[in-house]
Subunit: 475 residues, 2 copies
C-alpha cells in the first residue's frame, strides 16, 4: 500500500466520460450567458494550485447564481450521467477541482452574498462563494470576526469542502468546529438542511460534519452558517528568533502543554524568513522564528505573553519583539500569509508540492526535524512554515512540474514524511484535504476498512458518481 | 408531521423479531458465563431512565470483555439477523437501549480500561465502558481532566453514542468537539479506525463525527480517543440569585455576547432550588439562581468574575456568593448534578420526561419564559435546569408513567416547546439524543430529505439493520 516513489504519483487516473452534445445543448438552453464553453474559461476551471499540469479542462463552466441554478445544473448532470465539480476560487492545493473524469465545472463565486449576520448569537449565514476576506470586511462594523484563515483568500464553500483551518485554529478550531449548519443540494438535486443555529445538538447523524471535508463528492453546499467571535478587547503580536528549529518547536510544545490560550503560533525556518523578507520587503532576522498572537483582555494578553516570553527564553529565544499597532500586526501576518507565494516566486516557473502532515504535539519536534534533515540531505529547494500549535506544518518543495526527476524526489520526501507522521500517531493532511494527490496516503492512514466505509457512504448518497468523481478515493 | 399530542407517543413501534434457538445456543457456546438469559439481567438491560415502562426485555445479554468479544457477538447476530444493542450503564433518557425489535443487549461495562494517557499531547484513549468519574479519577495524578459531564456517571461509550455534553460545554465543547479518534466494530464485524491523535485532519470523510451521536446504529465503539485539558490554575465558583428567570437569562445572554470565557453557567428556577435543598440538605435561596464557574489564571478568573458580577447587578442579581475551596465547589456542583434525581425523588413513583431543546442564545429568554408560563398554566409538576450558556435547558415534567392523561399533558407541553425552539432556529435535542422518544421531533426539525439521507447511510453501513434498529428514525 505504498505510494509509488516516482512520478507515476503525478499521473492520476484520467478517464473523461463522454459529455453528450444533447447535454451541452440543454445546458446552454437553461443557462444562456451563465454557461461558457470558451477554452480560456474552461482551462481556468481545470486547474488549481496543485502540482498537476496539462490536465483536461471541463467541457463547460456554469456560473451558478442561485440555489435553483445549482439544482438545475445537478439535475441535468444526473439525467445525463455527467460529472459536476463545484468550484470556488481555484486555490486548492491537491487537485480537488480537476476534471479527471470530464464533466462540467460549477462555479459558485457569484453566490457571494452574506445572507444574515446574527451578531447577538455570534452566527452568520453566507452563500458558498463569499471569501474569507470579504466576510471579515462585512463583519467589521459588528465588532465580530471569522477566524479561519487558510493562506489564500479562499471561498467559505471551498473551506468547508476541504475542512480548512489556518493560523487561528489553535485557539478557535477549524471548519469542523465552526460550521453550524448547511443547506446542501444532493446528487438527486434535492435541497436538504443540516444542523440549526443552536450551538450544539444531538439530533441524529451529524450530516453537517459529514459534508464538511467531503470535497464536493457528497453534495453542493448552497448556504453555510458559521460561528463568529467577538473581536478580542486586546490583541498582541510578537515575533521571536531561535538558535534552531528544535528550540522554537520545544517552546511551542511547552506553550500548548501549559494550556496557554495562545491565538496563533506560527513557525518559519530561516530560509523561509529570507524568502518572506525578499517578497514583502521586510528585514526580519533570517533565523528560525515564531510569529505569535495573543487575544484577550489587556491584562490577560500581557499575562500570556509574559509566560510565553519566559518559555522562549528557556530555549534561547531572543529578539522578542512586540507589534501592538494594527498596522504592524497586519504587516507581519500578511507576510506570513504570503509565505507560500514568496516561496513559489523564489524560483520562477516552479510549483510547490506542499506537505500537510499533522502530529500529536509531543511528536512535533521529531517529525519536523527528521524531515527537515531528510530534505536538506536531498538538496531540494523548499520553504517551511507551520501551524505548530496544532502540530501541523508544511514543507513546500519547489519543483519544476515538468521535471520527472524533481517530482519523484519531492514525492519521495513527501511519502517519507507522511509515513513518519502516521507512525507518530498523526495524519497525512491537517487542512488541505485529499483531492487527487493524497489518495494513496489516505489509504495508508485510514486503512481499507475505513475507506470501504467512505465508499459505501459515497455510493449511497451519489449512486451514479456524478459529484466530483475520482477524488478522495479512486472510483 | 406533528408528533401526536397524546399518549400514542409513548407506544413506540414494538415488533420484536424472532430470536432463533440455534442462535442462543451458539451465543451460549461462544460466551459461556459472559452470556446471561436470566430474567432479572435481561430486564435490567431492557430499560433506561426514559419514560417507557413495560417494554420487552432483550433475549440475552452478552458481557463483552474485548474487541474480539464484540466482533464475535456482532458476527453471530449478523449471521442470524438478530438485533444487537450496545449498553453502557443504562442512563439514557430517550429509550435508546430498549429492545423494541428484540435481539440482544451487548453490555460494554466490563471494557473499562483506560488504555493510555498521553499527558504531553492532552489525549487519552479508553475503552467504551469507562465512566466519566472513573476517567477523571485515573487522570487525577496527571493534572489533567476530561470536562464533559452529563448528569449521570455515564460511560464514555454512551456519551459518544448520544453526542453528550453537560455543564462545561460552554467552554470546552461537547463530545462532538472532544472525540479525536475511534475504533469501531462495523455491522460486518470488521474493525475500523477513524481519526488519529492529531488535533485536526482533512483526511477524507469525518467518520469519527458520523459515529459520534449515531446511538449505536452504525457500529459498536471499542476504543475512544479523547481530548483532555490541563486543570485550570485557578477555579472560582459563584452563585447568584435573581428576582426572575428573565433577569437570570438576560445576564447569561450578555455574558456570552461579551465573549467572557466562562466555564460553566447553569440556571435553576426557584422550585428546583427548593428540590435540590431538600435532596442535598442545602439552604440556598429558593429563587432563580445562576451557578457559575470560572477557569484560568488567578488574575484571569478574578477579571471574569468581576465582569459577570457587574452584568448580574444590572439585572437585579443579589447574594452573589463565592465558593473557592474545592469542598464548597464540589458540594454545589454535586447538588446541581443531582437536580434530576432531586426532581424525580420529589414525587415518589414518578418518572421525568425531560425536554432538551437548545436555541440560539438571543432567543433563549423567549423560548424559556414562554414555555415556563405554558407549563405553569397546565398545572404540571416540573423541575427546570439549564446549560444556559449554550442556550440549552431541560424541563423535567414529573409524571406517573402509567397515567395516560399526565403523559399526554407532558408530551403536549414538550411538543409545544420543541415547535417553539425550532421556530426560533434551535434544535429538539441539545445533548440527550433522539432514541425512540424524539423521532417525530427529529423529522420536524431535519425534514424528510435529511432523514432520507440518514436512512441511506444507515442502509449502506448496516444493510440488515441489526445495529440498534428502530432508533433515531423508524425502520
Amino acid at each position: 500500500m505504498n505510494a509509488p516513489a516516482d512520478s507515476a504519483a503525478f499521473a492520476p487516473l484520467v478517464s473523461p466520460r463522454e459529455v453528450p452534445e444533447a447535454f451541452l445543448a440543454e445546458l446552454r438552453a437553461r443557462f444562456g450567458a451563465q454557461c461558457s464553453t470558451a477554452l480560456a474559461v474552461r482551462e481556468h476551471h481545470g486547474r488549481d494550485e496543485s502540482v498537476y499540469v496539462d490536465m483536461p479542462a471541463p467541457a463547460a463552466v456554469v456560473f451558478a447564481e442561485s440555489r435553483r441554478d445549482v439544482q438545475d445544473a445537478v439535475k441535468l448532470c444526473a439525467r445525463h450521467q455527467v460529472p459536476i465539480i463545484p468550484f470556488g476560487i481555484g486555490s486548492s492545493l491537491e487537485g480537488h477541482l480537476l476534471a479527471v473524469q470530464g464533466g462540467i465545472s460549477l462555479d459558485l463565486s457569484r453566490m457571494n452574498q452574506v445572507l444574515s449576520i446574527n451578531a447577538e448569537d455570534l452566527t452568520v449565514t453566507v452563500q458558498p462563494g463569499v471569501t474569507r476576506k470579504q466576510l471579515n470586511e462585512e463583519l467589521k462594523s459588528t465588532g465580530l470576526f471569522f477566524p479561519i484563515d487558510p493562506g489564500a483568500d479562499a471561498t467559505v464553500g471551498g473551506m468547508c469542502a476541504t475542512r480548512a483551518s489556518g493560523t487561528n485554529a489553535v485557539r478557535y478550531g477549524t471548519m469542523r468546529e465552526n460550521v453550524l449548519a448547511l443547506e446542501v443540494v444532493t446528487a438527486r438535486a434535492e435541497v436538504i438542511r443540516t444542523g440549526t443555529r443552536a450551538r450544539k445538538s444531538s439530533a441524529g447523524y451529524d450530516l453537517t460534519r459529514l459534508m464538511v471535508g467531503s470535497e464536493g463528492t457528497l453534495g453542493v453546499m448552497t448556504e453555510i452558517t458559521l460561528r463568529i467571535y467577538p473581536l478580542p478587547e486586546a490583541i498582541l503580536a510578537a515575533i521571536c528568533s531561535f538558535p534552531s528549529i528544535a528550540d522554537a518547536v520545544h517552546t511551542v510544545i511547552e506553550i500548548i502543554q501549559l494550556g496557554v490560550p495562545i491565538a496563533r503560533v506560527e513557525l518559519l525556518d530561516g530560509k523561509t524568513v529570507a524568502m518572506v523578507n525578499r517578497h514583502a520587503k521586510l528585514s526580519l532576522r533570517e533565523e528560525p522564528m515564531l510569529l505569535m498572537e495573543f487575544h484577550g483582555s489587556p491584562a490577560g494578553v500581557k499575562e500570556q505573553a509574559e509566560t510565553v516570553q519566559d518559555l522562549a527564553s528557556g530555549h534561547g529565544g531572543q529578539a522578542f519583539e512586540w507589534a501592538t499597532t494594527p498596522e504592524e500586526r497586519t504587516r507581519l501576518w500578511t507576510a506570513r500569509h504570503n509565505a507560500y507565494f514568496a516561496g513559489v516566486q523564489s524560483r520562477p516557473g516552479c510549483r510547490a508540492i506542499s506537505t500537510d502532515t499533522c502530529v500529536p504535539i509531543s511528536r512535533l519536534a521529531e517529525c519536523l526535524l527528521d524531515s527537515a534533515a531528510e530534505a536538506d540531505a536531498s538538496g531540494i529547494t523548499y520553504f517551511l512554515v507551520g501551524h505548530v500549535g496544532d502540530g501541523n506544518f508544511h514543507f513546500g518543495y519547489l519543483v519544476d512540474p515538468r521535471d520527472a526527476k524533481e517530482l519523484a524526489l519531492a514525492e519521495d520526501l513527501n511519502h517519507k514524511l507522511v509515513s513518519r507522521a502516521l507512525r507518530l500517531g498523526g495524519t497525512c493532511t491537517g487542512e488541505h484535504g485529499v483531492g487527487l494527490h493524497k489518495m494513496d496516503f489516505l489509504r495508508e492512514e485510514a486503512g481499507l476498512g475505513a475507506i470501504a466505509m467512505m465508499r459505501a457512504i459515497k455510493q449511497a448518497l451519489d449512486p451514479d458518481n456524478i459529484l466530483n468523481p475520482g477524488k478522495i478515493f479512486s472510483a
